[in-house]
């Protein structure tokens, strides 16, 4: 349903973007403007996960540094959750190398898991038990003494804004509350690394913002966050650095700013015309932008000067129903790299 056309010269100069949406891999591994190296907590090299005849993760390389928030972005089925489950030491590595806190999950799974906090995609709370009991039981799995666990549970209940619900059963709680409880539970062992698999999927906007706020605090306090998401706003809000995954491989890696610079333009001009098919207009405005994308209901003009491009469009006698200039977002990068096809 969409087509992409690219003008000759890349707009930003930050690496040459490949023409086709899809595999675009930055050529240099070490980014010169990355801050001085901090300890690597998680290192994956050629990491693969295969099930019988299906390859979920097709050899990925990444480093997660202490104290950063690192994101795996990608559409459904990109291999994010499989990667997370390998890092969580619950899914055996099929091939390649994975090191977490300097240990090998193959031989040291329990010791690594003792230092991880895991927020799984689907809550695994015990709905029959109370909020507090869920924290205490979980603390016991880590061998935390009862008195310590009780004190930590109080602290975490406050952190998750659940103190008032401490003694109610989990089952009737809202989705946002359950999610906050899952995060609180994942912190009960004071982990070095917090793994969050789609932490806010299915939550309403208020609940999401509340959750982001909690995650922000953790990040400020120096907890290393590793999260998967397919929400670009979430990635822009939370991630210091991220990789975009598609079809089991890493399509791009960098900070949100770097990715926007490298794979998009500073601004995007969105034009709507009174027409069912926007492609004829694309040809007319082709030279006014670095790249023009045709969507069913509008044209996207990727350019560093949105207002100038809009003026130029009007100067050519075109009269769009609307012309909106906005900044490029990670979503533009994401859709460029992973395409606009529908994944179910």
């Amino acid at each position: 349903m969409s087509s992409t056309s690219t003008k000759g010269a890349p707009g930003t100069g930050a690496g040459a973007p490949a023409r086709s949406a899809g595999r675009v891999r930055p050529e240099a591994k070490e980014d010169p403007d990355r801050p001085s190296p901090t300890p690597v907590l998680i290192r994956g090299r050629g990491l693969r996960k295969t099930f019988d005849d299906f390859t979920a993760v097709a050899g990925v390389d990444f480093d997660v540094h202490r104290g950063e928030a690192f994101g795996f972005l990608g559409p459904n089925g990109a291999g994010k959750s499989s990667t997370m489950r390998m890092i969580g030491c619950v899914s055996p590595v099929s091939a390649g190398k994975l090191s977490i806190l300097g240990l090998d999950p193959r031989t040291d799974g329990p010791r690594i898991r003792a230092r991880l906090g895991v927020v799984p995609q689907r809550d695994t709370l015990d709905e029959e038990l109370t909020v507090r009991e869920n924290l205490l039981i979980y603390a016991r799995y880590f061998g935390i003494p009862r008195a310590v666990a009780a004190a930590r549970a109080e602290e975490l209940l406050r952190f998750a804004h659940l103190t008032e619900r401490a003694d109610s059963r989990v089952e009737p709680l809202s989705g946002g509350m359950k999610r906050r409880l899952t995060i609180a539970r994942a912190l009960v062992n004071e982990p070095d690394i917090l793994l969050l698999d789609e932490p806010t999927t299915g939550l309403d906007p208020q609940a999401r913002h509340m959750l982001w706020d909690r995650l922000f605090r953790l990040k400020r306090q120096g907890v290393t966050l590793v999260l998967t998401t397919h929400y670009m706003d979430e990635a822009e809000q939370l991630c210091d650095r991220l990789v975009v995954m598609d079809g089991g491989s890493i399509a791009a890696e960098g900070t949100p700013r770097q990715l926007i610079d490298r794979f998009s333009t500073r601004e995007v001009l969105e034009l709507r015309f009174a027409a069912d098919d926007h492609s004829p207009y694309a040809a007319v405005v082709q030279d006014l932008a670095d790249r023009v994308e045709v969507l069913p209901d509008r044209l996207l003009l990727y350019t560093d000067g949105g207002d100038e491009a809009a003026a130029a469009v009007h100067a050519r006698g075109l009269t769009p129903l609307s012309a909106l200039v906005r900044r490029s977002t990670l979503e533009d990068v994401f859709l460029r790299l992973t395409g606009r096809r529908l994944v179910d």
Partner: protein
């Protein structure tokens, strides 16, 4: 202090996690859940022996003036129902709750995100099932003794026999449950396994009443062996030699079943 400052401290990696400790942590979870419902289970624990011993031992039994195998029927049937009830508890606790912990409530997945291992998960859950079975069997013994359904104080030892028998049934059934995609197979297990075993493996009448082929089938069940030992104890003529053979057979089922359960749990949970 806030939730916090500790995270940057770079806590050293802890020592290896002790295997036995993991199983006890898992057991403690199941015990916490059970604490919410134990009252109801104690009531039904008293009800079952009253119903069985009342209807079969004292009801049906009065129609058999000669008794069975040389003793009044109630004395014959009571130790049989004791072990058969323990078997029912074991099978019940190792089917739906296991499937729930894998698939519906997913408690096993929560445990696996901690240092707890697969073997801890199997062993801890199995220990809880044995605890449940010990409570059920202990209640049965109390009620049966009060009703005069046991002849000898040796019957006290039928409690550990019933618990071992529960392990012999629960461990392989846990393996079976972990292997099932959903709960569809459980009906088959009850109809082709647990119920026929309950009815024909020497609980209500000696298996010498069965056709020869069926006798061998009955002898293959762990329940028959447990019932033989429990009955000898209850009637006051325990025999160390035959008891050792019977208990050895139960232990074999428990050990092989446990190994199979660990295998199928790992295959199911570590994907």
């Amino acid at each position: 202090m806030s939730v916090s400052d500790r995270f940057t401290s770079g806590t050293p990696i802890g020592p290896r996690v002790d295997r036995g400790a993991g199983a006890l942590r898992v057991l403690s979870y199941w015990a916490t859940v059970y604490r919410r419902t134990w009252r109801g289970s104690v009531v039904s624990g008293f009800g079952a022996p009253l119903l069985y011993l009342g209807s079969l031992g004292f009801g049906l039994g009065t129609l058999m003036p000669g008794g069975v195998a040389g003793v009044p029927y109630v004395l014959f049937v009571a130790p049989g129902v004791l072990t058969a009830t323990a078997m029912q508890t074991a099978v019940g606790e190792s089917t739906y709750p296991v499937m729930a912990a894998i698939k519906w409530q997913r408690q096993y997945h929560a445990m696996l995100a901690s240092p707890v291992r697969i073997t801890d998960i199997v062993l801890g859950h199995l220990l809880f099932i044995l605890l449940r079975s010990a409570v059920v069997s202990g209640t049965f013994l109390l009620v049966g003794a009060a009703l005069g359904a046991f002849r000898s104080p040796w019957v006290i030892l039928a409690l550990p026999v019933a618990v071992l028998s529960s392990a012999a049934h629960a461990a392989p059934v846990m393996a079976f449950s972990a292997h099932q995609e959903d709960d569809g197979g459980f009906n088959l297990l009850y109809r082709l396994g647990a119920i026929p075993m309950f009815l024909f493996a020497g609980t209500f009448f000696p298996i010498s009443q069965l056709p020869v082929a069926a006798q061998w089938l009955a002898r293959a069940t762990p329940l028959w062996h447990a019932t033989q030992v429990a009955r000898d104890l209850a009637l006051g003529h325990p025999d160390a030699g035959s008891a050792a053979a019977h208990l050895g057979y139960l232990l074999l089922w428990a050990v092989v079943g446990f190994a199979a359960a660990v295998h199928y749990f790992r295959r199911r949970l570590r994907t």
